[in-house]
C-alpha cells in the first residue's frame, strides 16, 4: 500500500473526527427530536422542540442578536485590522512594538476582556464617573445599561479583542506582496491609497477568507464575553444563542430544546458559509479552466 505510514499516522485523527465531531453532531440532531430533559430519552416527538424554540421570545432575541453581532463584529474587525496592517506596513519605526501592542488583547481570554470592559462601561465605576469627576458632571455614557445599545458595547469589546489577530494575518499577506507590483504602481503613478484598495486588497483574498472564517467562529462561539459583560442583560437585550444552549442544557435541564437550538445554529452557519464556499470553489475552477 502506498503511504502506509502516513495513513496510520493520520488514522487516529480521522477516527476522532468521525466519532467525536460527526457522531456527536448526529447525536445532537437526533436528541433535538426527542423530549429529553436532563437524562437522554429516545422518544420521537417530531418538531415539537423546534416549535417551542421559535415560540420563545428569548430565542428570537438571541437569534437576531447573533446576526447583529456577527455583521458588526466581522465588518469592524476586518476594517480596523486592515487599517492597522496598512499603517504598520508603511515601514514605521518601532514596528515590532506596535505589532505587539495591537496583538496583545488577543492574548486575553474573553472573560477577562468582558469583565474589564464591564468595569470600564459601568456608569458608577468606569468612564462616566471618571469624566464626571474631572468636572463635566453632565456627561453620560450609559451604553451598557441602555437596552437598545448594549449589543454594540459587546461588539466594541469583541472588536478590541480580535482586531489584532486580523491585523497580524493581513500584515503577513501584505508582506507577501511582490515588490514588483509596488514598483509598477509607482511607475503608473497610482496614489498609494488607490493601490491598496483596488490592487493589493483583492490579492489578499485567501488571507481575508481566513480572517472571516476565524471571526465567524468567534461569533457563533460567543458565550463567555456576553456572560462576563452583561450576563444577557439589561433584560434580555444581549442574549446570544450559545448562552441559550448552555443554560437550557445544564441549568434548565431541557437537553431537547438546547439541541434544537444548537441545530439551528449549525444550519445558520451552513446557510451563510455554503454559498461563500461554493463561490470560492467556483472561482477556483474557473481560474484553473482559464489557465488550462
Amino acid at each position: 500500500m502506498r503511504h502506509l505510514s502516513a495513513k496510520i499516522a493520520i488514522a487516529p485523527t480521522v477516527l476522532v473526527t468521525l466519532i467525536v465531531f460527526v457522531g456527536c453532531l448526529v447525536w445532537t440532531f437526533a436528541i433535538s427530536f426527542t423530549s429529553t430533559r436532563g437524562v437522554p430519552v429516545f422518544d420521537f416527538v417530531g418538531l415539537a422542540k423546534y416549535q417551542e424554540l421559535w415560540a420563545s421570545s428569548r430565542w428570537q432575541t438571541s437569534f437576531k442578536n447573533m446576526f447583529i453581532f456577527g455583521a458588526g463584529f466581522i465588518s469592524l474587525s476586518l476594517i480596523l485590522g486592515m487599517l492597522l496592517a496598512v499603517l504598520i506596513d508603511q515601514q514605521v519605526r518601532a514596528e515590532n512594538a506596535f505589532r505587539t501592542i495591537f496583538l496583545y488583547p488577543h492574548a486575553l481570554s474573553y472573560i477577562v476582556t468582558g469583565l474589564a470592559w464591564q468595569w470600564f462601561l459601568n456608569p458608577q465605576l468606569g468612564l462616566q464617573k471618571f469624566v464626571q469627576d474631572l468636572g463635566w458632571s453632565d456627561f453620560t455614557f450609559r451604553v451598557l445599561v441602555d437596552r437598545n445599545v448594549a449589543i454594540y458595547a459587546i461588539i466594541a469589546a469583541a472588536v478590541w479583542h480580535s482586531a489584532g489577530l486580523v491585523m497580524a494575518i493581513m500584515l503577513a499577506g501584505l508582506r507577501g506582496v511582490d515588490d514588483e507590483i509596488w514598483k509598477a504602481t509607482k511607475v503608473e503613478g497610482i496614489p498609494r491609497w488607490r493601490a491598496y484598495i483596488w490592487i493589493i486588497l483583492p490579492m489578499l483574498g485567501p488571507a481575508m477568507t481566513t480572517c472571516i472564517m476565524l471571526l465567524a467562529f468567534g461569533v457563533i462561539r460567543n458565550y463567555d464575553l456576553v456572560v462576563a459583560m452583561t450576563n444577557g442583560g439589561p433584560g434580555t437585550a444581549t442574549e446570544v444563542p450559545a448562552k441559550f444552549v448552555m443554560e437550557y442544557l445544564f441549568e434548565r435541564q431541557n437537553a431537547g430544546l438546547a439541541s434544537a437550538a444548537a441545530t439551528i445554529m449549525l444550519l445558520s452557519v451552513v446557510a451563510v458559509g455554503a454559498p461563500v464556499w461554493y463561490l470560492q470553489s467556483w472561482r477556483n475552477r474557473r481560474r484553473i479552466a482559464g489557465r488550462g
Binding site: R37, L125, G235, F250, R252, N254, L257
Partner: protein, 413 residues
Amino acid sequence: MRLHFMAGVCALAFAVPGNPAFAADSVEVVHHLTVNTERAAIKEIADRFTAAGGVWVDNAVAGPPNSRRVYTTRMNAGQPPQAYLTVTNLDHYDFAAQGQLVNLDSVAQAENWAKVFPPEIMETIKAPDGHIYVAPLGLNVPGYVFYNKKIFDDLGIKEPVGFDDDFFAALDKVKAAGIIPLAYSGDPFHVRFPFEAIMMSLGGKDLWDNVWRQRSNAAIRSPEMRKVFETFERLRDYTDEGSSGRAWNLSANLVMSGKAAVQIMGDWAKGEYIAAGMVPGKTLGCFIPGTDDLIQIHGEVLVFPKQPGTTALTPAQAKLAAIATSADAQTAYNAQKRSFPSRLDANVAAMDPCLQLNIDAYRNPGHIVQNPRSLITQQMDGEYRDLVNEFMAEPEMTVDEVVDRFAEVLQAK
C-alpha cells in the same frame, strides 16, 4: 527496534486509565461550597465523617450551576460521585425516575426523621414514588431584607414591616438624602429574591400555593398577583444605574459603605456583612418582610447517586447521611455557614439575632412554604426569572403583558 518502539507506543496509548478504585468506605462529594464560611461549614461534616472511620474525598466546584453540570455529566457518564450537594430543587425527581439515585428510607427510619424534621421538609425530600432521596442540611431565607442601620437611624426611619407604603416611604426619605435607596442586582439569578419576597409578604401562603403549586390561571391573573407585579415595578425608581448585571456582593458593598441603604438578598449575604465589620442588630438591620414571617425552604441538601454494582446505599453513604443530619453536625455546620439547621432539635443558642428571627419562625408550625423550585421545573423557574428580569428592565412592558406571559411560562391550568 522500530517494532519495539511502535509496540511501546501502542501499549501506552491503549493503557486504560480507568476509575481509581475507591476504598469501600470512601465518599466523593461534589459540592459548591467554596467561599470561606462555606468551606469551614462543610469541613465540620467532613471531620465528623472522618472521625467515624469514613474517607472524605472532596470535589468542590465553584457555583451551584457548575457543580450541577459536574454531577449531571458524571452520572450520565456512568461514573457517579458517591454524594452530591445541591440547593433545593426538583432534580432528584428526574434522577429517581431514571433509577439513578438510592433511597434513604433506611436512614430516615433509623434516625427518626419524621419526628425531627417538619412535615414540609419531609414533603420536599421525597420523590413521587414515595421514597426519600434527599438529606437536608441547613436552611437559608432567600428574600431577606438587609439595611444599613446607621443610615436609617440618622434619617429617623423606623424598620418597615413589609413592602407596603411604609417601605416605600422609608426609601423616599433615603432618596431625598441623596443615597441610593435599593442596591439592586439586575439579572435573572438575583431577580427572584426581591420578587418572591414581595410575593410572600403581599400574597401570603394562599397566593403562594395557588401560583406555584396549583399554577392556577385564576390565581395568576388575580388582583393580588397584579399588585405583586406593580409593587415590584415600583422598586425600579429606587435603583441606580449600575444595577444591571451587578453581582450581589458588589451590591452588598454599597450598603456596607453607606452608599446604599437596603439590599434584598438571601440571608447568606450576612457572612459578607459580618466580614466587613457590620454587627447584626447594631449597624446592620435585618428582617423577614411581611407580617406572616414566611420561610421558604431553601437550603443545601445531600443526594446520593446509585453506585455501579449495587442498588442500595453503600455503608459509607449511609454513614454520611446519618452524620450530616445528626443534631450535633447540623449545629456545627450551620454555625460556620450562618444558616440555620433544618433539624428542629439542633442547638441554636449561639446563633446571631438575625438568625434567631428565622429560627423562631421556622420552629413555629405554619410558617414554612415550599420553594418554587420544588414545585415547578427548572425551565419554568428560569423562564419566569427571565421574564421578571425583562419586566424590570423594560419600563414599556405593562402589567397585563407580564401577567399573560407569566401564565404562559408556568403553563397555567
